[in-house]
Symmetry: C2
Subunit: 414 residues, 2 copies
């Protein structure tokens, strides 16, 4: 397969320049970017990055699932691999920073380290991970999950995109799969990722760097409220079993409880449906989503326990609530020693920083279960992500590169 790769002089000196160049692959009108796993735009972007890595003198390779590695071999402990990077795929009409910034920052940091200090003691692999978002197929972390053994190739046969194409077929069409060269990566010694925050905390607190201590656990529920549909004019308020009113009270209840329980706990009702959803009919049945996140399983349990108490309130009103949990991702604690090192590094560089919890999922949570992992954030303007409006100031991007360089030095050169 011949991949058309856009000409580039590859002489990018900043992450911002590199991101501008990369955003052309899958760039939409209006400034958004769409690179779904194994799509043409995704493939072009990975091959463009391959060209860039080669131009920078790295040893490049794809693994079975299309993760792209650019290696600087260590001269003293070549088998010890420091892995650094992020993911190349995007949501539909996403921004140009999510994922891509971590790859750009890693390439720049590794290049500058080489220019300044020559080859490292330990091997550094810059990785452009195949998939993190779950935008095309109903699974997430395919790239990091493959590397760490969370997934295997058999699974790819039974997962389909919305056009009915299996992950396996899409992968093979992009020239990957079981027949490719086997991955040379062993278990990494460490994983380091920089990423945009995708939230408002750093901007609000006027901090340049976020040092992530935990990635939250996520629980998702579907909640049904069953009352009795009736005439909006002829049924007195006290004789109603209004599923809408019950749901409204419940939304206020769980929101207030979450806010009161722990400042890091978030609970969101983003989706509702109502039957019959007619202005002059009392709703007989309503349903909503509930998304709960915290970095501590005990808090997630406590919250679940707490809100289940509302079932008694519903029974008292002659109605029922059925709460069904359909997702339960455990929280991941990242490496404390590395976080401490990053804090010291930021201090030495004069960068303001905040230790925080990531409320969004990241590749680091997969690596965090397998090797010491560090995740650093840079600020997102207005906290916006997964949108063409996603934006981080170039000087903030640069601060992330500088700190990453310092930390990679400690890991690979000292």
């Amino acid at each position: 397969m011949t991949i058309p790769v856009q000409e580039a002089d590859y002489g990018f000196k900043t992450a911002n320049d590199m991101l501008e160049w990369l955003a052309v692959f899958g760039g939409n009108e209006g400034g958004g970017v769409t690179r779904l796993l194994y799509s043409d735009t995704w493939l072009e972007a990975q091959h463009a990055l391959k060209g860039l890595m080669q131009a920078k003198g790295l040893d490049v390779r794809f693994d079975e699932v299309g993760n792209l590695f650019g290696r600087r071999v260590g001269v003293e402990e070549p088998e010890s691999v420091i892995l650094t990077g992020s993911h190349i795929d995007t949501v539909i009409n996403g921004g140009k920073f999510d994922g891509a910034y971590g790859i750009a920052a890693s390439l720049l940091a590794v290049e500058r380290l080489y220019e300044q200090y020559g080859p490292p003691k330990r091997t550094i692999d810059v990785v452009s991970l195949a998939e993190e978002e779950g935008s095309r197929f109903p699974l997430t972390f395919w790239g990091s999950g493959w590397i760490t053994g969370l997934y295997d190739l058999d699974q790819a046969e039974h997962i389909y995109d919305q056009d009915g194409i299996s992950l396996k077929d899409a992968m093979e069409k992009a020239s990957f799969g079981a027949t490719s060269m086997p991955s040379q990566l062993k278990k990494p010694k460490a994983f380091v990722e920089v990423h945009i925050e995708q939230g408002p905390i750093l901007e609000r607190k006027k901090k340049s760097i976020g040092i992530v201590s935990h990635i939250v656990g996520q629980r998702r529920y579907t909640v049904q409220f069953k009352g009795e549909s009736n005439h909006a004019g002829t049924t007195p308020m006290t004789m109603r079993k209004d599923a809408m009113r019950l749901m409204a009270e419940w939304i206020s209840f769980i929101s207030d409880e979450a806010e009161a329980m722990d400042s890091s706990l978030v609970a969101t009702v983003g989706k509702v449906s109502v039957r019959p959803n007619t202005s002059n009919v009392i709703a007989g049945e309503t349903e909503c989503s509930l998304d709960v996140r915290h970095y501590n399983t005990a808090v997630l349990n406590q919250f679940e326990e707490k809100i289940k108490a509302f079932e008694e309130r519903a029974r008292h009103l002659g109605m029922t609530i059925i709460m069904q949990r359909w997702m339960n991702v455990e929280p991941v604690a990242l490496d404390q020693t590395m976080a401490k090192s990053a804090a010291e590094g930021a201090g030495q560089l004069g960068l303001s920083y905040e230790t925080l919890v990531s409320g969004a999922g990241h590749d680091s949570q997969v690596f965090g279960n397998c090797c010491p992992t560090m995740l650093l954030f840079v600020p997102s303007r207005n906290g916006i992500s997964h949108s063409p409006e996603e934006w981080t100031e170039p000087e903030d991007l640069e601060k992330g590169v500088v700190l990453l360089m310092k930390e990679l030095y400690k890991l690979a050169y000292e």
Copy 2:
């Protein structure tokens, strides 16, 4: 036009038997009835009723819009017309009692009065009104509105059903319209309607008869809540502008206020929409309906005033609420003297009764603005209406006929 009319022996002795017969016209599988204005099933039903009225010795006529009258001429004051009846049209897949019961009861009452007392002093017109529900065209009370001068035929040109057929064309296709015989009806001396309650009050209070003092005023609103869409994982609870949470709080607020303000006040949020309506995204914008009813304009004003105060709460949270009223139907007080007479009549007959407010609209509210009007209810099982499950016990139907007979006697024979 030849109208196929089902053979019948017309010897119905009860309202229930008459309703069973009438439900065949527009009867659906599953027991529901659909008779939309000027449809074939509607036309068959009106012509079947015409046959029944003729068989009972009434003088029959249709007016311009298809209201059907069956007249027993008064021997002393023939120009004084006591009008009694209800509507023949239904909602889609409605029940067999709504509207039709009032026609059946009137026919039976007039028949029994004639058998017992001969011709009345004053003229009685039993009317099968063309339309009340607003199920086919976006207007209601076409039948009573035509009789009382609320509507004229010009309006029929500019009102369309969902297939783009104008009210005028549909009317003419059914052989009605300006070219028909002009209506002989002058302003009636009184209007008397019996109807099913369509609500739970009589059943709950174990009463046989409802005497309606008022028909509620109705105000309908569309309410928009504007916040800020954001990531459900990365935005702390205190930094959110969650339009869903705001709407939930508002629904609880207006429901609690309505319940506290007046036991006859009802406020219903039956319909909502949410943007983007995605489980892991904080809703940036939500919208809901609000339906408010009470028999007193002052209470409706007071409630509107009260709930507008919530706008301050939204502003305090950095969000906005936009409340738009798009319907305002004034309450109608029915004739107190007639209501008193009905209460006495029920007492004399040993029928338990309750004076109540109708939360649903009825033809009586149109006549109530034009002549002394009485509206009587019989119980609805579980308060259910506009459904194949609509049901009133035959003995309750009979009690309504007996009381109607007594009241018509006072109006037309005394």
